[in-house]
Subunit: 336 residues, 4 copies
């Protein structure tokens, strides 16, 4: 098994999906050991580091990559199995960015209100106890919360020659900001450009559903993953990102308004249930209605992201690509 | 403890929140044993009963009630603790209603497409195994799913003299269609009119999050609940429905577009966290961002409903009204 | 021709569509001479009258009426022809209401920002020059603007037993806040309840499209109108409010998000073009695409309202109800 | 005065804003005589040419350009004055594209309905009478409509390294599809990249507001325009596209949902009124409320576009950049 190690210098960060030259070419089947900086490029380090003074909107969500996958062609499915996500720093940070977040006016929901006050919270990581600690800034509360590492961004080059900011989630994946993107998860993405040209970044040590204030417990991350590829004849590439873990199959839709993000994830799940179970479309709609879970991912990014999940325990036969996920889990055992 | 039993005749069904005369007055602290017809008024009984032939849009979601609560005044908080929900029939039904549902054009998302085909699914209830059985109509799949009884509608008379259809969810509760409304849950609603004037209905034997096709596994329900009242001086009434179970506190927001339903549930949860923990508003926003769950309730009704939840295990001190929920759980033990 | 005169006492104001007892029954064909108070009930009279101190949210948009129309039955079309709108006061008022308006967080677009500053503007009316005068509060600008009287609210009792606040626009008309509702306009509304039960109010001396800050130049109004009725066999009642003036046919859709308000107005216009021209549905869609105008009405109320208009000069044959509008224009000549 | 003539070969078409190499560098002050193919690349030529058979979604809205403007730097304002738009063919075409348009499910408003029927309409141009002729496909109607040439797309390279499809409207302009983009209009766009890198395309011989079915009367266009540049010190670059004609100043906002597109156009107009009149922000909000017009541009593209307009006749002093528009009108006289 090939092992690719890569820790980018700041000058090597990518800031887009598409449009950046690959830093490496990797073989399908490779194990990758990567390091990702946090969404702030490490520039928020104390409660006195405020967003407007410390951050440049052109330099957010630095990506590690992009990587070109040998043999990947449009119509194929890129497979990324997250083996391990380990915080690479002893602290994470969250901050209120002016005119950004779900409960304030923004550049899109353009209002006349001044921005909310700026504030930063720093979370200490306790690796032994696997916690991060919330410390209120203006109130007397300190609270240990379980560490729950995930990646905010996993994406490929977009279709139709587009280049999108690393802050954007869409059909190509990207900044979906869903807690489902955690170790043990397999992510299936459509290949739009030769080589797929994928990157990862935006580590979160923990995040609620919706990422309400716009920033999770942001932290640099050591990422171990396995890259694989499903060639086109083996089945149609997904239209939207599909995820799988031991317990569930998952689709992430991203758009605005939020109901459209949800609709996308639902229609793609109906297609997936049809492929996996041979179900008639309206039967799949009915079954979905009674069994799917619909947690939000983010309601803050340039597109909002909504998740549709179906539990394998409820619906037998949800075994995409002939059990590829189980196979990747096995391969992962040899890696860690 | 007062025990009120009520099984409405069809002529006694209410079809609105507000605007209907109370069928009973009840004392705070009363136990109520109620029967609710299903959302279709029992008119969908076989797979050949299709919506357009069997249903009259003026007669959907029949309500059991309304009930007047003695002593309830605007500004108070009505408390309804669901002790038990038991299917009252051996079958449930789900159907595709033309121009209704989340993945079709509707009277609001007005499009030129013809309606989806009409279809009905009947689910047999196995009380011993506690399952309902999905049987595909055009495919070869039969599947037992866990019974998970809940109420689609729980609501009071609206504010500002309004009378709303029993198909509508809003600040007064109503047709929220959230799976959180199950046995063991305490529901806190604002009192807008003297007596609160509440009703319940729309039993679901099971529902996914979002209620995608517009109808859950709809079924008549035997409902046992305890009514209580928190008088105004004890705290401000919630602006939006708040729920509590043994594990979580929950807010349901209802509006369109879906992001506004979510925003409402988030802002109300921030207010609630502030009340319970004495947290500064932006500290509560930050904490919420890292700990809240955001499952959808419905994306099909006249307003969409979104849920924000916070786990008691994550955040110590979430004990509304001095432990009223725990007290109701104790009282419920004496009831069943 | 019957002439009905009515000037309500404040105790006679209605605050809802539906749910209020008619103050008069009128014959189809009657001329009505009415007086409407402004949206504030006359309580904003100087720049020092601020909304939060002067207004009670339960008492906004007082309606003159409702009136019962003899012989009107569900399925019929109520016809209201606005003969004349004349300001009944020498000043109008506009004010910023906390958490209300298109460019601020609201009770629905719930955010954490504090409300915008409160401000009030008073506009003097110059009847001779037919102007209202804008005077900036914090800047050095005074500007005469043409008087352009219109009614914010014209509505009937809703369908399905609902009672809606006079702040709401929907299929029953109501608080549509469109500048199209001016003298010379004929308004066609569906009859949902026996007698139609219509009311008018919310005079605006002038308003831009969108009513951005939430309040137009609000002013009491003397209203002269003719009531008429199209009985059901003469054609299907409109699903949504239709308007006609000498130059255009117009549909108003009201919902959220704004694209749904627009979609409603478009689909109803396609239906209307089909009825008037015998056009195939997709041909009507195509024609609409190239000829319709789409000015916004309001983006501030509980539903947003969008307008679709088609010019009679562009499309010959737009002559609803055999020229009823022209006939009403003739009848109006005898009235003024 | 420099005169630049350019008629692209199909191999020279650009399909994006940003990401394509400039075909020419031009001096500020240059006159340009350009030819643009239609949105379909000329592939829809008869009513039997249907979209799914004739069109490739990767090759829509071919752009003429991009052009690099000498001396343009980020922060400057690009000025494009449309001198003349003349149909370059004797026919235009409009077609229903599956899953595209405002009144059907789409890739974003993802639904389970099958697509609408495919249809194409061909419009003959009568240059003498300045009309295009609508001919119904399934009904007996033929109708001459006034020719009203406009450009659907005018845009620059986006900010933040993005490359966007020529189907997208956003802050960089692009596929705004507003009828305001006609001869006699001056368009002000923010410069995001050195050289501005602008292109034009998507000629419409006529379009209603909203572009409901997704395609206007699409036609190749001869375009004459003057390029100019306002350097940064002369004033802040607009955040969003601003337009000016002899009668109005205009802002175009593009986003989803539609209310956000409108909010953007309103807030940018408030900023513009503040710059031009020295108006306090809330005074500008108030004035805007009473004087602005809000016609829709498109409710079909990847972002929706909404327009806010203020008439110069209503508000004296609306004279951006010291009368640059009037100067360009003078210069244009020398060109035609």
């Amino acid at each position: 098994m090939d092992v690719v190690e890569f820790r980018p210098e700041p000058s090597q960060y990518a800031w887009t999906f598409g449009g950046a030259a690959p830093v490496r070419e990797v073989e399908p089947g490779s194990v990758m050991r990567l390091w990702c900086d946090d969404a702030f490029g490490g520039r928020i380090r104390s409660v006195s580091d405020l967003a407007s003074a410390s951050l440049d909107p052109r330099f957010l969500n630095p990506q590690t990559g992009p990587f070109s996958v040998r043999g990947a062609e449009p119509g194929d499915t890129l497979v990324l199995h997250l083996v391990d996500l380990t915080p690479a720093r002893d602290w994470g940070a969250s901050t209120l960015v002016p005119f950004f977040g779900g409960l304030t006016g923004t550049d899109r929901t353009a209002l006349l209100n001044p921005p909310l006050d700026e504030r930063t919270w720093i979370y200490e990581v306790d690796r032994a106890r696997r916690t991060v600690t919330f410390v209120a800034g203006r109130s007397d509360l300190s609270l240990d919360l379980p560490l729950a590492p995930m990646l905010g961004t996993v994406g490929v080059a977009p279709a139709n020659r587009e280049v999108r900011s690393s802050l954007t989630p869409d059909a190509f994946g990207g900044n979906m900001d869903t807690p489902e993107m955690r170790a043990g998860t397999t992510c299936y993405l459509p290949v739009n450009e030769p080589g797929a040209i994928f990157s990862v970044g935006d580590g979160h040590y923990r995040q609620g559903e919706g990422e309400s204030c716009g920033t999770a417990v942001e932290g640099a991350m050591d990422v171990t993953l396995i890259v694989d590829l499903v060639k086109a004849p083996a089945g149609p590439a997904p239209l939207w990102p599909r995820l799988e873990n031991d317990d569930e199959i998952i689709v992430v839709g991203s758009s605005r308004p939020l109901e459209d993000a949800w609709r996308i994830s639902q229609v793609e799940m109906i297609a997936w249930l049809g492929e996996l179970l041979g179900l008639d479309r309206l039967d799949a709609y009915q079954l979905l209605t009674q069994v799917s879970l619909a947690p939000l991912a983010n309601v803050v990014d340039t597109n909002y992201s909504a998740v549709t999940k179906v539990a394998k325990a409820l619906v037998p036969g949800l075994r995409p690509h002939d059990g590829l996920h189980a196979d990747l889990r096995d391969r992962a055992l040899a890696v860690v």
